[in-house]
């Protein structure tokens, strides 16, 4: 229901230039300031919503386009690698939700922390991870971002404040409060974005996290990536109130069109300022995943194909930026097609390289369990033979 409402309200009028700067003729210089209106207004709970007019530039839009195209291509490639059994384990794809990762990056720096659940490939890429690290990790190779030991659900990037990649629904949100407390304590003017899905929004831990972050005024931003399905269950079947931005009650919230990268950017910028001054805030990103929940879910039993193709046509985050680029004469269709080709090549090259990366040594099985190892007795009755002495 919510989907169709938003779909119908995203009219083409938003694509028209609204600022004076846009009366300039092409080519726009790449640092020209463009002001573009978000697809729909923000809906606020216990706070004043930010302006719908978002400042951007041609170069930023081009970067958004390219980065999202890389993410999309990467996830599609992961899908086929999984199907050819080069990726094992559980694998959750992000295609459709790219605008959230990209918009959030545009409003934050690498000292801000991000922590998310298991749909983490694109968030990692957004934080500056490389395609090689992604594919190597997915295939359990040494060059992966977690040395091949984590797999799809466990991507991390410490130098960019990306605290990963957590497997248990909702468990990462209280961790985010701890990160935010550390930031507040050290007075470093940074915030933590703790991401979770609409399914996780019903976990008790979330409310515990909300309370402590509000009680202690932590600079924590709880980002609910609402893709409308908690695994195979539609949000309205699982949540009495699917208005996740209001779920914090005493914690202010903002509902954002998560398919509009500029709206996400504006909301995250607003949230960061708010959190540093006033404490926690909930951002509900209204978004959509094209794939099923995981690779074992075709994603078509609990929703219609029409619904999926409707979102693709009306709300796709990449198409949206593409239309903006074309409408403002920043790039031509052909140039964008060329970008897509480059992206495809880039992804293919990363996959080829990742395939060459070796699998970790068997002895790596015993490392990182503790700081230092302890003699592992691997086989009961073979105790005379098998004993691993660890570094």
């Amino acid at each position: 229901m919510a989907l169709s409402r938003i779909a119908s309200s995203s009219s083409s009028s938003v694509l028209k230039p609204i600022s004076a700067a846009l009366t300039l003729r092409r080519p726009l210089s790449s640092d020209t300031t463009l002001t573009i209106e978000t697809s729909i207004p923000f809906t606020a709970h216990n706070c004043d919503a930010p302006s719908r007019s978002v400042e951007t530039s041609p170069s930023e839009l081009l970067t958004f386009y390219r980065d999202m195209a890389v993410m999309r291509r990467m996830e599609i490639a992961a899908d086929s690698l999984y199907k050819s059994k080069l990726i094992r384990g559980f694998c959750h794809l992000y295609d459709g939700q790219e605008a959230v990762a990209i918009g959030m990056e545009a409003a934050t720096n690498k000292k801000d922390c991000i922590i998310t659940a298991y749909r983490d490939h694109c968030t990692f890429l957004g934080r500056g991870g490389s395609l090689l690290q992604v594919f190597a990790e997915l295939m359990g190779r040494k060059d992966g971002c977690s040395k091949g030991k984590g797999g799809s659900m466990h991507f991390y990037k410490k130098d960019a404040g990306f605290y990963g990649g957590h497997g248990i629904v909702g468990a990462q949100v209280p961790l985010g409060c701890g990160l935010a407390f550390a930031q507040k304590y050290s007075k470093d003017e940074n915030v933590t974005f703790a991401l979770y899905g609409d399914g996780a929004a019903n976990q008790g831990q979330l409310f515990e996290a909300l309370n402590i972050s509000a009680l202690w005024d932590l600079p924590a931003i709880l980002v609910c990536e609402n893709n409308h399905y908690g695994m195979g269950t539609a949000e309205w079947r699982a949540a009495k109130s699917p208005a996740y931005y209001k779920r914090g009650d005493y914690v202010p919230g903002l509902k954002v069109d998560g398919m509009d990268v500029l709206a996400v950017k504006q909301a995250c910028k607003f949230a960061k300022e708010h959190a540093l001054k006033n404490g926690p805030l909930i951002l509900e990103m209204d978004t959509y995943r094209y794939h099923g929940h995981s690779m074992s879910d075709p994603g078509s039993t609990y929703r219609t194909r029409d619904e999926i193709s409707g979102v693709r046509q009306e709300r796709d985050p990449i198409e949206r930026v593409k239309k903006l680029l074309v409408a403002h004469d920043i790039a031509t269709e052909k140039e964008l097609k060329d970008t897509e080709k480059e992206v495809r090549k880039e992804v293919d090259e990363a996959i080829a390289k990742a395939k060459e990366s070796p699998v970790p040594q068997p002895s790596d099985l015993f490392t990182n369990v503790y700081v230092k190892g302890y003699g592992v007795e691997a086989f009961g009755a073979d105790r005379k033979e098998v004993r691993a002495t660890l570094p």
Partner: protein
């Protein structure tokens, strides 16, 4: 799948369950080979056997309910297929993703005299509900002086390796729950066992955690009676007679152990294989009698060796059979590491590891 061939015969007679509505620990019907043909048997895999048991449970008791994440669509492993259509969405329903809430809700439902059959989608996800199971469910009867209980609660959860499950879809957490007096822990090895044991768990007057070997959901196929039957809890089963060494295990590990027994036999070692089935309260007598005969004991499970339930078995048997043991008790288990994604074959207690352990124990 050799697990399918593990069950051969269980003595007893058929009975009807129609009149059986009250909670009971005694099975009302027990399988007999000859009778099976009359009553109708069907070749089923493990998830279908579970599905059949749930159909039977809901059919035979109008005060029984099935709930959990995605169960009304059949669940991720198809165990609950068709239940919502047949019994309605008031008795078979989806819950939000909130394990702690699911089990707490189940305890309350059971406390009102209902049979609450809760599904935790993977055993790895059971930990948010750990508090509810350990502190609420297990102690309800005791701390209320028997005024209240949640005996109608059965928690189903798929456990164990599946070949490529990684850290959070492969764990075997049974030992945590075996440390909690007041609940029972049951793990079946095959489709026929799964159906009979699950029905016993559902009808048992105590809260039960029922772990299902997810690796066998599709792989294990055997003849399963279509009738309503129960298999006794806390009774281990000698699935293979032998004289040189006793092997004890449960769940999916049984088929791996059986393969090791067959290989050992080729080298002249006669192995006795016991399926423990119920981990607490467990059948010490059957294991004790076997070890007194063979003088050697090997325990195997997928969970990490340290603090695993094998340690408890080992200790109890050493206490009871110390003078009869001819070799140290051997444990072939998972390694003391998190369940790995890329190193699963190294981690697992494989057939060859068990075979090596059999040989070195016999040659001790």
């Amino acid at each position: 799948m050799s697990a399918a061939n593990l069950v051969r015969r269980i003595g007893g007679r058929w009975g009807s369950l129609v009149s059986q509505r009250g909670f009971s620990t005694t099975p009302t019907s027990i399988i007999e080979n000859g009778a099976a043909a009359e009553q109708g048997v069907k070749s089923l895999n493990l998830y279908s056997a579970i599905n059949q048991a749930l159909h039977t449970a809901l059919d035979s008791d109008p005060r029984s309910y099935v709930f959990g994440e995605d169960v009304s669509f059949g669940g991720v492993f198809r165990c609950t297929t068709g239940l919502a259509d047949r019994f309605g969405k008031s008795r078979v329903f989806n819950t939000p993703l909130c394990e702690q809430g699911i089990i707490g809700f189940g305890i309350g439902l059971a406390a009102m005299g209902n049979r609450a059959i809760a599904e935790i989608q993977f055993a790895d996800y059971i930990f948010p509900a750990f508090d509810q199971i350990v502190n609420e469910a297990a102690k309800f009867r005791y701390r209320s002086g028997n005024q209240f209980n949640c005996g109608g609660l059965t928690i189903r959860a798929p456990y164990g390796a599946v070949g490529h499950g990684g850290h959070y879809h492969s764990q075997s957490p049974e030992a945590f729950f075996c440390h909690v007096p007041g609940i029972k822990v049951v793990i079946p090895r095959s489709p026929r066992q799964a159906k009979g044991l699950l029905l016993s768990c559902i009808r048992d007057p105590n809260p039960v955690v029922f772990f299902e070997p997810k690796w066998l959901y599709r792989l294990a196929v055997e003849e399963v009676p279509e009738d309503d039957y129960m298999l006794p809890l806390s009774e281990a089963e000698v699935v293979r007679q032998g004289s040189d060494i006793t092997l004890v295990g449960w769940g999916a590990q049984l088929s791996i152990m059986e393969q090791a027994c067959l290989d050992a036999e080729k080298e002249g070692i006669s192995c006795e294989l016991i399926d423990l089935k119920t981990l607490i309260p467990w059948d010490k007598e059957t294991v004790e009698a076997s070890v007194k005969k063979t003088g050697r004991l090997l325990i195997s499970h997928e969970a990490p060796v340290t603090g695993g339930f094998g340690a408890e078995i080992s200790s109890s048997i050493v206490e009871r059979c110390f003078s009869r043991l001819e070799a140290p008790v051997s444990r072939v288990c998972g390694l003391d590491t998190p369940f790995p994604l890329v190193f699963e074959p190294f981690y697992m207690p494989t057939k060859n590891k068990i075979l090596d352990a059999i040989k070195s124990t016999v040659d001790y």
